[in-house]
Symmetry: C2
Subunit: 236 residues, 2 copies
Protein backbone atom coordinates (compact mmCIF):
# COMPACT_ATOMS: atom_id res chain seq x y z
CA UNK A 1 0.00 0.00 0.00
CA UNK A 2 1.21 3.51 -0.82
CA UNK A 3 1.99 6.10 1.78
CA UNK A 4 -0.19 9.17 1.60
CA UNK A 5 1.61 12.47 2.13
CA UNK A 6 -0.53 15.48 2.97
CA UNK A 7 1.03 18.88 2.38
CA UNK A 8 0.38 22.16 0.58
CA UNK A 9 0.63 21.42 -3.14
CA UNK A 10 2.38 24.57 -4.39
CA UNK A 11 5.39 24.87 -2.08
CA UNK A 12 8.33 22.78 -0.92
CA UNK A 13 7.94 23.95 2.69
CA UNK A 14 8.25 21.43 5.50
CA UNK A 15 6.73 18.75 3.29
CA UNK A 16 9.90 18.70 1.23
CA UNK A 17 11.86 17.01 4.03
CA UNK A 18 9.38 14.14 3.87
CA UNK A 19 9.33 14.05 0.06
CA UNK A 20 13.12 13.74 -0.03
CA UNK A 21 13.09 10.80 2.39
CA UNK A 22 10.33 9.03 0.43
CA UNK A 23 12.16 9.62 -2.86
CA UNK A 24 15.53 8.39 -1.56
CA UNK A 25 13.80 5.32 -0.11
CA UNK A 26 12.13 4.62 -3.45
CA UNK A 27 8.87 4.34 -1.53
CA UNK A 28 5.47 4.40 -3.21
CA UNK A 29 3.61 7.50 -2.13
CA UNK A 30 0.78 9.75 -3.21
CA UNK A 31 1.24 13.50 -2.72
CA UNK A 32 -2.46 13.74 -1.94
CA UNK A 33 -3.06 17.49 -2.00
CA UNK A 34 -1.62 17.69 -5.52
CA UNK A 35 -4.40 15.41 -6.78
CA UNK A 36 -7.94 16.48 -7.59
CA UNK A 37 -9.94 17.28 -4.40
CA UNK A 38 -6.78 16.62 -2.40
CA UNK A 39 -6.75 19.84 -0.40
CA UNK A 40 -10.35 19.31 0.71
CA UNK A 41 -9.42 15.81 1.84
CA UNK A 42 -6.43 17.19 3.77
CA UNK A 43 -8.60 19.75 5.56
CA UNK A 44 -11.22 17.11 6.41
CA UNK A 45 -8.59 14.91 8.02
CA UNK A 46 -7.24 17.80 10.09
CA UNK A 47 -10.77 18.59 11.24
CA UNK A 48 -11.94 15.09 12.02
CA UNK A 49 -9.08 12.68 12.78
CA UNK A 50 -8.89 11.14 16.24
CA UNK A 51 -5.25 12.24 16.25
CA UNK A 52 -5.58 15.54 14.38
CA UNK A 53 -2.31 17.01 13.12
CA UNK A 54 -1.81 20.63 14.19
CA UNK A 55 -0.62 21.49 10.67
CA UNK A 56 0.62 19.80 7.49
CA UNK A 57 2.74 17.90 6.65
CA UNK A 58 1.32 14.63 7.86
CA UNK A 59 1.71 11.10 6.61
CA UNK A 60 -0.88 8.35 6.47
CA UNK A 61 0.33 4.77 6.52
CA UNK A 62 -2.68 2.47 6.62
CA UNK A 63 -4.57 3.55 9.72
CA UNK A 64 -1.67 5.47 11.25
CA UNK A 65 -1.55 9.25 10.84
CA UNK A 66 1.65 11.02 11.86
CA UNK A 67 2.18 14.77 11.99
CA UNK A 68 5.26 16.88 12.70
CA UNK A 69 8.11 16.55 10.21
CA UNK A 70 10.61 15.21 12.74
CA UNK A 71 8.18 12.50 13.90
CA UNK A 72 7.40 11.50 10.31
CA UNK A 73 11.11 11.15 9.56
CA UNK A 74 11.69 9.14 12.73
CA UNK A 75 8.99 6.78 11.50
CA UNK A 76 10.25 6.56 7.91
CA UNK A 77 13.90 6.36 8.92
CA UNK A 78 13.32 3.19 10.90
CA UNK A 79 11.39 1.55 8.05
CA UNK A 80 13.64 2.45 5.13
CA UNK A 81 17.19 2.24 6.46
CA UNK A 82 17.48 5.99 6.64
CA UNK A 83 18.59 5.94 10.28
CA UNK A 84 20.74 3.64 12.43
CA UNK A 85 18.91 0.73 14.04
CA UNK A 86 20.63 1.12 17.42
CA UNK A 87 18.70 3.37 19.84
CA UNK A 88 21.60 5.76 20.47
CA UNK A 89 22.22 6.32 16.77
CA UNK A 90 18.51 6.69 16.12
CA UNK A 91 18.15 9.30 18.84
CA UNK A 92 21.22 11.19 17.62
CA UNK A 93 19.77 11.32 14.10
CA UNK A 94 16.49 12.61 15.51
CA UNK A 95 18.32 15.20 17.61
CA UNK A 96 20.04 16.57 14.50
CA UNK A 97 16.69 16.65 12.68
CA UNK A 98 15.08 18.57 15.55
CA UNK A 99 17.86 21.13 15.39
CA UNK A 100 17.34 21.43 11.63
CA UNK A 101 13.64 22.02 12.37
CA UNK A 102 14.56 24.86 14.73
CA UNK A 103 16.80 26.35 12.04
CA UNK A 104 14.00 26.10 9.46
CA UNK A 105 11.56 27.85 11.81
CA UNK A 106 14.04 30.68 12.24
CA UNK A 107 14.54 30.91 8.47
CA UNK A 108 10.77 31.20 8.07
CA UNK A 109 10.53 33.94 10.65
CA UNK A 110 13.01 36.13 8.76
CA UNK A 111 10.11 37.12 6.49
CA UNK A 112 7.39 36.66 9.13
CA UNK A 113 8.86 38.00 12.38
CA UNK A 114 5.55 39.41 13.67
CA UNK A 115 2.97 36.82 12.72
CA UNK A 116 1.95 34.19 10.19
CA UNK A 117 -1.45 35.82 9.79
CA UNK A 118 0.06 39.01 8.33
CA UNK A 119 1.52 39.59 4.87
CA UNK A 120 5.24 40.05 4.42
CA UNK A 121 4.60 43.60 3.25
CA UNK A 122 3.01 44.39 6.61
CA UNK A 123 6.08 43.29 8.57
CA UNK A 124 8.85 44.27 6.20
CA UNK A 125 10.67 46.67 8.53
CA UNK A 126 10.85 43.99 11.20
CA UNK A 127 11.87 41.42 8.57
CA UNK A 128 14.84 43.58 7.58
CA UNK A 129 16.05 43.68 11.17
CA UNK A 130 15.44 40.01 11.87
CA UNK A 131 17.15 38.93 8.65
CA UNK A 132 20.23 40.97 9.48
CA UNK A 133 20.50 39.10 12.81
CA UNK A 134 19.83 35.78 11.09
CA UNK A 135 22.58 36.37 8.52
CA UNK A 136 25.09 37.65 11.06
CA UNK A 137 24.54 35.24 13.96
CA UNK A 138 22.30 32.32 13.14
CA UNK A 139 23.38 31.02 9.72
CA UNK A 140 27.05 30.87 10.81
CA UNK A 141 26.19 29.30 14.18
CA UNK A 142 24.03 26.51 12.75
CA UNK A 143 26.38 25.73 9.84
CA UNK A 144 29.33 25.63 12.24
CA UNK A 145 27.45 23.08 14.34
CA UNK A 146 26.81 20.83 11.33
CA UNK A 147 30.45 21.19 10.28
CA UNK A 148 31.57 20.15 13.78
CA UNK A 149 29.36 17.06 13.68
CA UNK A 150 30.80 16.05 10.31
CA UNK A 151 34.34 16.58 11.64
CA UNK A 152 33.72 14.49 14.75
CA UNK A 153 32.03 11.59 12.97
CA UNK A 154 34.73 8.96 13.27
CA UNK A 155 33.30 6.95 10.35
CA UNK A 156 34.77 9.60 8.00
CA UNK A 157 32.32 8.92 5.17
CA UNK A 158 31.13 12.49 4.99
CA UNK A 159 27.72 11.75 6.57
CA UNK A 160 26.32 13.31 9.73
CA UNK A 161 25.68 9.96 11.46
CA UNK A 162 27.73 6.79 11.04
CA UNK A 163 28.94 5.56 7.68
CA UNK A 164 25.75 5.68 5.60
CA UNK A 165 23.16 8.22 4.53
CA UNK A 166 20.38 9.15 6.97
CA UNK A 167 17.35 11.39 6.64
CA UNK A 168 19.31 14.06 8.52
CA UNK A 169 21.71 14.27 5.57
CA UNK A 170 18.78 14.72 3.19
CA UNK A 171 17.36 17.44 5.42
CA UNK A 172 20.67 19.28 5.66
CA UNK A 173 20.87 19.15 1.86
CA UNK A 174 17.43 20.79 1.68
CA UNK A 175 18.38 23.50 4.19
CA UNK A 176 21.48 24.40 2.16
CA UNK A 177 19.35 24.47 -0.99
CA UNK A 178 16.84 26.77 0.68
CA UNK A 179 19.36 29.10 2.28
CA UNK A 180 21.25 29.37 -1.01
CA UNK A 181 18.02 30.41 -2.70
CA UNK A 182 16.87 32.85 -0.03
CA UNK A 183 20.17 34.30 1.14
CA UNK A 184 22.67 33.60 -1.67
CA UNK A 185 25.32 36.08 -0.51
CA UNK A 186 25.20 35.34 3.20
CA UNK A 187 25.04 31.58 2.63
CA UNK A 188 27.99 31.55 0.23
CA UNK A 189 30.05 33.40 2.86
CA UNK A 190 29.04 31.01 5.64
CA UNK A 191 29.62 27.89 3.53
CA UNK A 192 33.26 28.90 2.97
CA UNK A 193 33.79 28.07 6.62
CA UNK A 194 31.79 24.83 6.36
CA UNK A 195 33.45 22.85 3.55
CA UNK A 196 32.22 19.48 4.78
CA UNK A 197 28.65 20.75 4.71
CA UNK A 198 29.18 21.86 1.09
CA UNK A 199 30.62 18.49 0.16
CA UNK A 200 27.70 16.64 1.75
CA UNK A 201 25.22 18.92 -0.02
CA UNK A 202 26.81 18.10 -3.38
CA UNK A 203 27.01 14.37 -2.63
CA UNK A 204 23.30 14.23 -1.80
CA UNK A 205 22.40 16.12 -4.99
CA UNK A 206 24.26 13.49 -7.02
CA UNK A 207 22.57 10.43 -5.55
CA UNK A 208 20.67 8.79 -8.41
CA UNK A 209 17.19 8.89 -6.89
CA UNK A 210 17.60 12.43 -5.56
CA UNK A 211 19.02 13.65 -8.87
CA UNK A 212 16.10 12.10 -10.75
CA UNK A 213 13.65 13.65 -8.31
CA UNK A 214 15.17 17.13 -8.53
CA UNK A 215 14.89 16.98 -12.33
CA UNK A 216 11.30 15.74 -12.25
CA UNK A 217 8.03 17.74 -12.11
CA UNK A 218 7.51 16.26 -8.64
CA UNK A 219 10.06 18.80 -7.32
CA UNK A 220 8.19 22.08 -6.90
CA UNK A 221 10.46 25.06 -7.63
CA UNK A 222 11.25 27.48 -4.80
CA UNK A 223 8.86 30.41 -4.75
CA UNK A 224 7.79 33.34 -2.59
CA UNK A 225 5.00 31.46 -0.82
CA UNK A 226 7.29 28.93 0.84
CA UNK A 227 9.65 28.96 3.79
CA UNK A 228 12.70 30.02 1.79
CA UNK A 229 11.89 33.17 -0.18
CA UNK A 230 14.13 35.20 -2.41
CA UNK A 231 13.63 38.73 -1.19
CA UNK A 232 16.90 40.44 -2.20
CA UNK A 233 16.42 43.14 0.43
CA UNK A 234 16.75 40.48 3.17
CA UNK A 235 20.14 39.21 1.91
CA UNK A 236 23.41 41.11 2.04
CA UNK B 1 23.41 5.66 38.48
CA UNK B 2 21.81 9.12 38.47
CA UNK B 3 20.81 10.95 35.34
CA UNK B 4 22.69 14.18 34.80
CA UNK B 5 20.59 17.08 33.54
CA UNK B 6 22.44 20.01 32.01
CA UNK B 7 20.56 23.29 31.81
CA UNK B 8 20.86 26.94 32.80
CA UNK B 9 20.65 27.06 36.59
CA UNK B 10 18.59 30.22 37.13
CA UNK B 11 15.59 29.69 34.82
CA UNK B 12 12.89 27.12 34.20
CA UNK B 13 13.22 27.45 30.43
CA UNK B 14 13.16 24.36 28.26
CA UNK B 15 14.91 22.40 31.02
CA UNK B 16 11.73 22.52 33.07
CA UNK B 17 9.97 20.06 30.76
CA UNK B 18 12.72 17.55 31.55
CA UNK B 19 12.73 18.35 35.28
CA UNK B 20 8.98 17.70 35.47
CA UNK B 21 9.33 14.30 33.81
CA UNK B 22 12.21 13.30 36.08
CA UNK B 23 10.30 14.46 39.17
CA UNK B 24 7.07 12.64 38.22
CA UNK B 25 9.10 9.50 37.51
CA UNK B 26 10.81 9.74 40.90
CA UNK B 27 14.11 9.35 39.06
CA UNK B 28 17.47 10.11 40.63
CA UNK B 29 19.05 13.06 38.85
CA UNK B 30 21.62 15.75 39.35
CA UNK B 31 20.80 19.22 38.01
CA UNK B 32 24.47 19.65 37.16
CA UNK B 33 24.71 23.34 36.35
CA UNK B 34 23.23 24.21 39.74
CA UNK B 35 26.18 22.54 41.46
CA UNK B 36 29.61 24.13 41.97
CA UNK B 37 31.55 24.34 38.67
CA UNK B 38 28.51 22.93 36.91
CA UNK B 39 28.19 25.59 34.22
CA UNK B 40 31.85 25.17 33.22
CA UNK B 41 31.27 21.42 32.93
CA UNK B 42 28.17 22.02 30.77
CA UNK B 43 30.11 24.31 28.42
CA UNK B 44 32.98 21.80 28.17
CA UNK B 45 30.58 19.06 27.14
CA UNK B 46 29.00 21.24 24.47
CA UNK B 47 32.45 22.08 23.15
CA UNK B 48 33.95 18.61 23.16
CA UNK B 49 31.32 15.85 23.00
CA UNK B 50 31.32 13.54 19.98
CA UNK B 51 27.59 14.25 19.76
CA UNK B 52 27.59 17.91 20.82
CA UNK B 53 24.18 19.31 21.76
CA UNK B 54 23.35 22.52 19.89
CA UNK B 55 22.05 24.05 23.12
CA UNK B 56 20.95 23.04 26.63
CA UNK B 57 19.00 21.19 27.91
CA UNK B 58 20.74 17.88 27.46
CA UNK B 59 20.66 14.70 29.49
CA UNK B 60 23.51 12.33 30.24
CA UNK B 61 22.65 8.73 31.03
CA UNK B 62 25.89 6.79 31.42
CA UNK B 63 27.70 7.30 28.14
CA UNK B 64 24.64 8.51 26.23
CA UNK B 65 24.16 12.25 25.76
CA UNK B 66 20.80 13.43 24.40
CA UNK B 67 19.93 16.97 23.43
CA UNK B 68 16.65 18.56 22.29
CA UNK B 69 13.82 18.55 24.82
CA UNK B 70 11.49 16.41 22.68
CA UNK B 71 14.18 13.76 22.15
CA UNK B 72 15.01 13.69 25.86
CA UNK B 73 11.35 13.18 26.71
CA UNK B 74 10.99 10.44 24.09
CA UNK B 75 13.90 8.70 25.81
CA UNK B 76 12.63 9.19 29.37
CA UNK B 77 9.02 8.42 28.46
CA UNK B 78 9.92 4.93 27.28
CA UNK B 79 11.97 4.19 30.41
CA UNK B 80 9.61 5.53 33.06
CA UNK B 81 6.11 4.67 31.85
CA UNK B 82 5.45 8.24 30.82
CA UNK B 83 4.39 7.25 27.29
CA UNK B 84 2.52 4.32 25.75
CA UNK B 85 4.64 1.30 24.84
CA UNK B 86 2.92 0.73 21.48
CA UNK B 87 4.65 2.55 18.59
CA UNK B 88 1.53 4.43 17.46
CA UNK B 89 0.84 5.77 20.94
CA UNK B 90 4.48 6.63 21.44
CA UNK B 91 4.62 8.58 18.19
CA UNK B 92 1.38 10.40 18.97
CA UNK B 93 2.76 11.47 22.35
CA UNK B 94 5.91 12.71 20.65
CA UNK B 95 3.88 14.55 18.02
CA UNK B 96 1.99 16.43 20.74
CA UNK B 97 5.28 17.25 22.46
CA UNK B 98 6.75 18.60 19.21
CA UNK B 99 3.73 20.86 18.81
CA UNK B 100 4.19 22.06 22.39
CA UNK B 101 7.82 22.80 21.52
CA UNK B 102 6.67 24.93 18.57
CA UNK B 103 4.27 26.78 20.85
CA UNK B 104 7.04 27.40 23.40
CA UNK B 105 9.33 28.78 20.69
CA UNK B 106 6.59 31.19 19.63
CA UNK B 107 6.04 32.23 23.26
CA UNK B 108 9.76 32.95 23.55
CA UNK B 109 9.76 35.06 20.42
CA UNK B 110 7.06 37.37 21.77
CA UNK B 111 9.82 39.13 23.72
CA UNK B 112 12.60 38.34 21.22
CA UNK B 113 11.06 38.76 17.77
CA UNK B 114 14.22 40.12 16.15
CA UNK B 115 17.05 38.11 17.65
CA UNK B 116 18.29 36.23 20.70
CA UNK B 117 21.51 38.23 20.70
CA UNK B 118 19.67 41.51 21.39
CA UNK B 119 18.13 42.71 24.64
CA UNK B 120 14.36 42.90 25.01
CA UNK B 121 14.66 46.67 25.32
CA UNK B 122 16.21 46.80 21.86
CA UNK B 123 13.27 45.02 20.22
CA UNK B 124 10.41 46.24 22.35
CA UNK B 125 8.39 47.85 19.55
CA UNK B 126 8.50 44.63 17.57
CA UNK B 127 7.69 42.65 20.72
CA UNK B 128 4.52 44.68 21.23
CA UNK B 129 3.34 43.84 17.71
CA UNK B 130 4.30 40.17 17.87
CA UNK B 131 2.67 39.71 21.28
CA UNK B 132 -0.59 41.20 20.03
CA UNK B 133 -0.63 38.61 17.22
CA UNK B 134 0.34 35.85 19.64
CA UNK B 135 -2.49 36.73 22.03
CA UNK B 136 -5.06 37.16 19.30
CA UNK B 137 -4.27 34.20 17.03
CA UNK B 138 -1.77 31.78 18.47
CA UNK B 139 -2.76 31.20 22.12
CA UNK B 140 -6.38 30.44 21.12
CA UNK B 141 -5.34 28.24 18.18
CA UNK B 142 -2.95 26.08 20.20
CA UNK B 143 -5.25 25.77 23.24
CA UNK B 144 -8.14 24.84 20.97
CA UNK B 145 -6.01 22.06 19.48
CA UNK B 146 -5.20 20.64 22.93
CA UNK B 147 -8.88 20.88 23.91
CA UNK B 148 -9.84 18.96 20.75
CA UNK B 149 -7.35 16.21 21.53
CA UNK B 150 -8.73 15.87 25.06
CA UNK B 151 -12.27 15.73 23.68
CA UNK B 152 -11.42 13.06 21.12
CA UNK B 153 -9.50 10.81 23.50
CA UNK B 154 -11.93 7.94 23.85
CA UNK B 155 -10.34 6.81 27.14
CA UNK B 156 -12.11 9.78 28.84
CA UNK B 157 -9.62 9.99 31.71
CA UNK B 158 -8.76 13.61 31.05
CA UNK B 159 -5.30 12.86 29.67
CA UNK B 160 -4.00 13.76 26.22
CA UNK B 161 -3.03 10.20 25.29
CA UNK B 162 -4.76 7.01 26.44
CA UNK B 163 -5.88 6.48 30.02
CA UNK B 164 -2.75 7.38 31.98
CA UNK B 165 -0.43 10.35 32.41
CA UNK B 166 2.28 10.96 29.78
CA UNK B 167 5.08 13.47 29.57
CA UNK B 168 2.89 15.45 27.14
CA UNK B 169 0.44 16.11 29.98
CA UNK B 170 3.29 17.36 32.17
CA UNK B 171 4.47 19.62 29.36
CA UNK B 172 1.00 21.04 28.73
CA UNK B 173 0.77 21.76 32.47
CA UNK B 174 4.02 23.71 32.23
CA UNK B 175 2.87 25.68 29.18
CA UNK B 176 -0.32 26.71 30.96
CA UNK B 177 1.75 27.72 34.00
CA UNK B 178 4.05 29.79 31.84
CA UNK B 179 1.34 31.44 29.76
CA UNK B 180 -0.61 32.27 32.91
CA UNK B 181 2.48 33.98 34.30
CA UNK B 182 3.43 35.85 31.11
CA UNK B 183 -0.01 36.67 29.67
CA UNK B 184 -2.44 36.39 32.59
CA UNK B 185 -5.29 38.27 30.94
CA UNK B 186 -5.06 36.71 27.48
CA UNK B 187 -4.55 33.22 28.91
CA UNK B 188 -7.52 33.45 31.27
CA UNK B 189 -9.70 34.45 28.32
CA UNK B 190 -8.45 31.59 26.14
CA UNK B 191 -8.75 29.00 28.93
CA UNK B 192 -12.46 29.76 29.30
CA UNK B 193 -12.87 28.06 25.91
CA UNK B 194 -10.60 25.17 26.90
CA UNK B 195 -12.09 23.75 30.11
CA UNK B 196 -10.53 20.31 29.66
CA UNK B 197 -7.08 21.91 29.41
CA UNK B 198 -7.76 23.77 32.68
CA UNK B 199 -8.88 20.57 34.38
CA UNK B 200 -5.78 18.70 33.23
CA UNK B 201 -3.55 21.55 34.40
CA UNK B 202 -5.09 21.39 37.87
CA UNK B 203 -4.92 17.59 38.00
CA UNK B 204 -1.21 17.62 37.20
CA UNK B 205 -0.53 20.27 39.85
CA UNK B 206 -2.14 18.01 42.46
CA UNK B 207 -0.15 14.88 41.71
CA UNK B 208 1.85 14.12 44.87
CA UNK B 209 5.32 14.20 43.31
CA UNK B 210 4.58 17.29 41.20
CA UNK B 211 3.03 19.08 44.18
CA UNK B 212 6.06 18.30 46.33
CA UNK B 213 8.38 19.46 43.58
CA UNK B 214 6.53 22.74 43.01
CA UNK B 215 6.78 23.52 46.73
CA UNK B 216 10.48 22.63 46.89
CA UNK B 217 13.51 24.85 46.25
CA UNK B 218 14.23 22.68 43.21
CA UNK B 219 11.45 24.58 41.38
CA UNK B 220 13.01 27.83 40.18
CA UNK B 221 10.46 30.68 40.23
CA UNK B 222 9.48 32.26 36.92
CA UNK B 223 11.58 35.34 36.17
CA UNK B 224 12.38 37.78 33.40
CA UNK B 225 15.37 35.82 32.07
CA UNK B 226 13.34 32.77 31.07
CA UNK B 227 11.02 31.88 28.22
CA UNK B 228 7.85 33.08 29.95
CA UNK B 229 8.35 36.67 31.12
CA UNK B 230 5.90 38.92 32.88
CA UNK B 231 6.07 42.13 30.87
CA UNK B 232 2.64 43.69 31.48
CA UNK B 233 2.91 45.75 28.29
CA UNK B 234 2.85 42.50 26.26
CA UNK B 235 -0.40 41.26 27.80
CA UNK B 236 -3.83 42.74 27.28
Amino acid sequence: MSYELYYWPTIQGRGEFVRLALEEAGADYIDVARESEGIAMMMRMMDHADHPPFAPPFLKDGETIIGQTSAILLYLGARHDLAPKDPTGGLWTSQIQLTIADFVAEAHDTHHPIGVELYYEDQKDEALRRSAEFRKSRIPKFLEWFETILERNSARGGYLVGSTLTYADLSLFQVVEGLSYAFPKATARALKKAPKVSTLHRAVSERPRIKAYLESPRRIPFNEAGIFRQYPELDG
